[in-house]
């Protein structure tokens, strides 16, 4: 009931902002307020279900062929709704402050309208239990986010990003359509609960369905090489929308994938291998491309690809456990992956909000143009630092906990099973370790170059701390990262019902396995608390040692050079250069060098750029060929409305004849 009310409020709020006059100052407040209210109401049943309450169902007749308005809140949906509702509300509050600079220049009605619709669409996707309803919700989500991405549509790059996103998401949907139609033909129903109950019993069909689900949902989630839209769309969108899209919208792809696993019966071994391979390629390549980027939001977008890869690794371990009937692997793999969904929503949402604050104050997101912002924006800097440590998978924060569970699953598989599982587990261990190390490189670069050192250009001189409406959501998300990190066993216990739901095992067994498998987390917390205690003690020791002694200020040591300028500092590009050079075969970084010539060189220049390799090498040639081929049909297009109506009439006629022949 609360859920329906929440969705009604979202819809009403979305329509209401369109009715307000464009200069109304309350427009943002109304738009954000309705989202916050809806999220608050919606979270009541979500918490109830996760704490052990019964699943909630609603059926309404719906005059769409094969469609029924059938929604259900089960633990799996509830788990994904937690970050969705939380981040939607926080990003909406942030949006009030963030959009203020557009006030008066442009009507903010549409953006709040589509923001409300996007949240509504995501909620419906997670709740829908009928394939037709699911697809409608999926489209609502895609279209609403398309209009949000193209908010600044006067810029050509934004329009292009919007189109890439639009095409990618619909190609993905085409695979989902095929997936659902095949399932419906096999089971004779469009309802998810029938699919889950009957299951698929022919191995060949199940394999086809698995591939369709991975491609269809993987496009939304951003599996490499289906990720091409992410690094275009996330930077183009306003920052609070990027936070929402990267934090939770792409997770609907993960949700869809996990949901489809419950339809497909016992998986064969190779499904697990596929997901581990996808996870490794997305994870390693995602973080490498992120390292090579110069634009902060593009960097963060590639990091979403990396984190989706980590989630896929967790799901892969879970699938390996399912196919060999090892409950420990199911629980640790799915548990770690699903926990990472929540964690990534927190720290990636926070990072995009931080990036928005930086862009809002300085007018640029070029990392090499920034510097020294910590002194000007202390709150943004601290929250960004917390998120950077968390996303690097380091203790004592939340990123470490979910990666710990996935690692634990892989190590358990690695030490106790035969080659077919041990070898992929070893690849996972090595890959995840590499990903972690590269993420540290990437986020020390992002944080260090943007917030520390001296300002590198005049962009930063005007910057000051952002308004409270923007600061508060960042603080809440940072607190979330710390709290999950330090209360990991409790949070993992909250996964119990979700895992029962996903693994379809006996509840007692899942409970016991989860309790036994996650018991090391208690020691992790002890270690983390000891660490924090030691930090506090050492701060006091240091203060005691320095008390009463001379503490002076001076210039940074430059080997005796006394006239340093800010341009002499190391840049983000130079920081990442050793790694991007080493991995050049995978990255395809292009370098343009104007070398210094002569004894007194007048000018020299170096420019590097790393375009997306799969976009350049795979999709661009593919779409160019398709365009060349399809342009032969251009004679059909006259721009004449009457002719188009004739086409429609003729098609209908043909269909009718075919039907009644």
């Amino acid at each position: 009931m609360w859920l329906l009310l929440a969705m009604a409020i979202l819809l009403a709020g979305a329509v209401a902002v369109l009715l307000l006059s464009r200069s109304d100052r309350n427009l943002s407040r109304l738009g954000a307020g309705s989202v916050v209210l809806a999220a608050a109401l919606g979270s009541i049943p979500v918490v109830q279900v996760l704490l052990g309450g019964p699943a909630v169902q609603f059926h309404f007749p719906w005059p769409v062929p094969f469609g029924e308005f059938f929604i259900e809140l089960d633990p799996l949906s509830a788990w994904f709704l937690v970050p969705t509702l939380l981040l939607s509300a926080l990003a909406a509050v942030y949006g009030v402050g963030y959009l203020r600079s557009w006030q008066g220049k442009r009507s903010l009605g549409p953006i709040w309208f589509f923001y409300g619709l996007l949240v509504l669409g995501m909620m419906l996707v997670l709740l829908a239990r009928n394939a037709a309803l699911f697809l409608v919700a999926w489209e609502l989500m895609a279209v609403a986010s398309f209009f949000l991405v193209t908010f600044e549509h006067e810029r050509p790059s934004v329009r292009e990003a919007g189109w890439i996103y639009f095409v990618a998401t619909h190609l993905g949907t085409a695979f989902l359509l095929a997936l659902f139609l095949l399932l419906a033909r096999e089971t004779g129903s469009m309802d998810f609960d029938v699919w889950a109950r009957q299951g698929i019993h022919t191995a060949g069909l199940a394999n086809v369905l698995f591939v369709l689900a991975v491609v269809g949902f993987g496009t939304k989630a951003g599996f490499m090489p289906l990720h091409v839209w992410l690094p275009e769309a996330h930077p183009a969108a306003p920052s609070h929308v990027s936070a929402l899209m990267s934090g939770v919208m792409i997770k609907t792809g993960i949700y869809g994938l996990v949901r489809s696993f419950t339809f497909l019966g016992t998986p064969p071994l190779w499904w697990g291998w596929v997901l581990v391979a996808i996870g490794l390629s997305s994870g390693v390549l995602g973080v490498l491309f992120a390292l090579a980027q110069h634009d902060l939001k593009r960097l963060l977008a590639y990091h979403s690809v990396e984190n989706i890869g980590i989630i896929a690794l967790g799901l892969g371990v879970g699938l390996l456990g399912m196919s060999t009937n090892l409950p420990v692997l199911m629980v640790l793999g799915f548990g770690g992956g699903l926990l990472h969904v929540l964690n990534h929503a927190l720290f990636k949402g926070l990072l995009f909000l931080g990036a928005g604050a930086v862009g809002h104050e300085t007018g640029t997101l070029e990392i090499d143009q920034l510097g020294g912002l910590l002194k000007r924006m202390p709150w943004t800097a601290v929250t960004f630092l917390i998120a950077a440590v968390a996303i690097s998978g380091l203790p004592p924060l939340n990123g470490f906990v979910s990666e710990f569970l996935i690692f634990l699953g892989a190590f358990k598989a690695g030490i106790s099973t035969g080659g077919p599982i041990a070898v992929p587990s070893l690849a996972l261990i090595a890959g995840l370790a590499l990903i972690g190390g590269l993420a540290v490189a990437c986020f020390t670069k992002a944080f260090g170059i943007i917030f520390l050192g001296e300002p590198r250009s005049e962009h930063t001189f005007q910057a000051h701390e952002v308004a409270w409406t923007m600061r508060l959501p960042m603080l809440v998300l940072a607190a979330g990262c710390v709290v999950i990190g330090l209360s990991a066993p409790a949070v993992v216990a909250g996964l119990l019902r979700v895992l029962e739901n996903v693994t379809a095992q006996r509840p007692e067994m899942v409970g016991e396995t989860l309790a036994a498998a996650s018991s090391p987390l208690t020691f992790v917390i002890i270690g983390a608390l000891t660490f924090l205690l030691l930090v506090a003690m050492l701060v006091l020791v240091r203060r005691g040692l320095l008390a009463g002694r001379p503490v002076a200020e001076s210039a940074t040591w430059g080997c005796g050079y006394v006239q340093p300028t800010a341009r002499m500092q190391y840049t983000a590009s130079s920081f990442a250069q050793p790694l991007t050079d080493l991995f050049r075969p995978l990255l395809g970084t292009k370098k343009t060098v104007v070398p210094a010539r002569g004894l007194f060189p007048a000018e020299a220049a170096l420019k590097t750029e790393t375009p997306d390799l799969s976009r350049e090498e795979m999709y661009r040639p593919m779409f160019e060929r398709a365009e060349a081929w399809l342009s032969q049909l251009r004679w059909l297009q006259h721009g004449n409305v009457q002719l188009y109506i004739l086409y429609i009439a003729a098609t209908l006629m043909v269909l009718l004849i075919w039907k009644f022949r």
Partner: protein
């Protein structure tokens, strides 16, 4: 297995500054010099702790937090490391992942502290630090996965407790490969030759040393102490794989300390007979270490 849980921690806290002294004495022996006193690092620490500090005007609290967080993380990591036949204070499945994670936190804060100075030298060191450690991380975890598979256990104390002479007889090549891989990781993580030269005097060629150019006084004492403690902990990783449990407490302590000093001597010998590798070759060495560890794991499968 004797459980005297405080022994590894106390030994590491007290004796770790001895290791650089042993390394330097070994190098001096090879060079035909007398070398600095064995206890030089203790003297250095004592002197640094007496001093005041000078901070760059560019820096913020991040620069001051670097050494504190670094030492706190390394000390917490010391709680997790067993020594020879002595169990660690805290042991649980996958404790070595927390160990690696805590050292990662220390590295993260040392790197951002270096970037906080705005010095291009320190930026250079920071860049190399994250570069090499990213490549060393997979080698470390794969090597430990191999040992874990042999021992059938995921906790460092239990792993080292159950790796015995029988394992060395039965799967000697596997363990030997693991020891080599861990040795390379030790050299890379602790800024030793052939990856980094602790004695170099040119800022352009340093890694670890250049990151801490601007630190002084108690801050630098924290950094020096974290560095020797980290060296001790990595040496303990290797010693734990080799040492048997004799059943006698004092004999075990003697063996453990002797083993640690032996690792220091080996590091000293490597530093004396090898030149430092070019930066471009180092990744090959680290990837090679990872490959050796992976080969060991696959051999262990058979």
């Amino acid at each position: 297995m004797i459980t005297a849980p405080l022994i590894p921690l106390l030994l590491s806290l007290v004796l770790s500054p001895l290791l650089p002294g042993v390394i330097n004495r070994t190098k001096a022996f090879f060079a035909g010099r007398q070398g600095q006193p064995l206890l030089q690092t203790y003297f250095d620490l004592w002197k640094l702790l007496q001093k005041g500090a000078v901070y760059s005007r560019t820096t913020t609290w991040v620069f001051r937090a670097g050494p504190v967080v670094g030492l706190a993380a390394t000390l917490s990591a010391a709680l997790l490391m067993p020594l020879g036949s002595f169990s660690a204070l805290i042991g649980f499945p996958l404790d070595f992942l927390l160990f690696a994670g805590l050292l990662g936190v220390a590295r993260f804060f040392m790197v951002v502290a270096a970037l906080d100075t705005g010095s291009s030298f320190e930026g250079m060191g920071a860049s190399r630090e994250v570069f090499f450690s990213a490549l060393a991380e997979p080698a470390l975890l794969v090597a430990l996965a191999t040992v874990a598979r042999l021992a059938g256990n995921l906790s460092l104390s239990a792993m080292f407790g159950s790796v015995s002479g029988a394992h060395w007889l039965h799967s000697g090549p596997v363990l030997a490969l693991v020891v080599i891989a861990l040795m390379i990781v030790l050299l890379a993580e602790n800024a030793r030759i052939p990856v980094d030269d602790p004695n170099t005097h040119l800022e352009l060629t340093m890694i670890h040393e250049v990151m801490v150019l601007d630190h002084g006084g108690p801050d630098f004492a924290f950094i020096v102490y974290s560095a020797v403690l980290k060296l001790w902990l990595f040496a303990a990783l290797m010693v734990g794989m080799v040492l048997p449990d004799t059943g006698n407490l004092w004999l075990n302590v003697g063996l453990a300390v002797g083993g640690m000093l032996a690792v220091a001597v080996v590091v000293g010998v490597i530093e004396s007979i090898m030149a430092r590798l070019r930066f471009l070759i180092v990744p090959q060495l680290l990837v090679g270490a990872g490959a050796l560890a992976a080969v060991a794991f696959l051999l262990g499968l058979a």
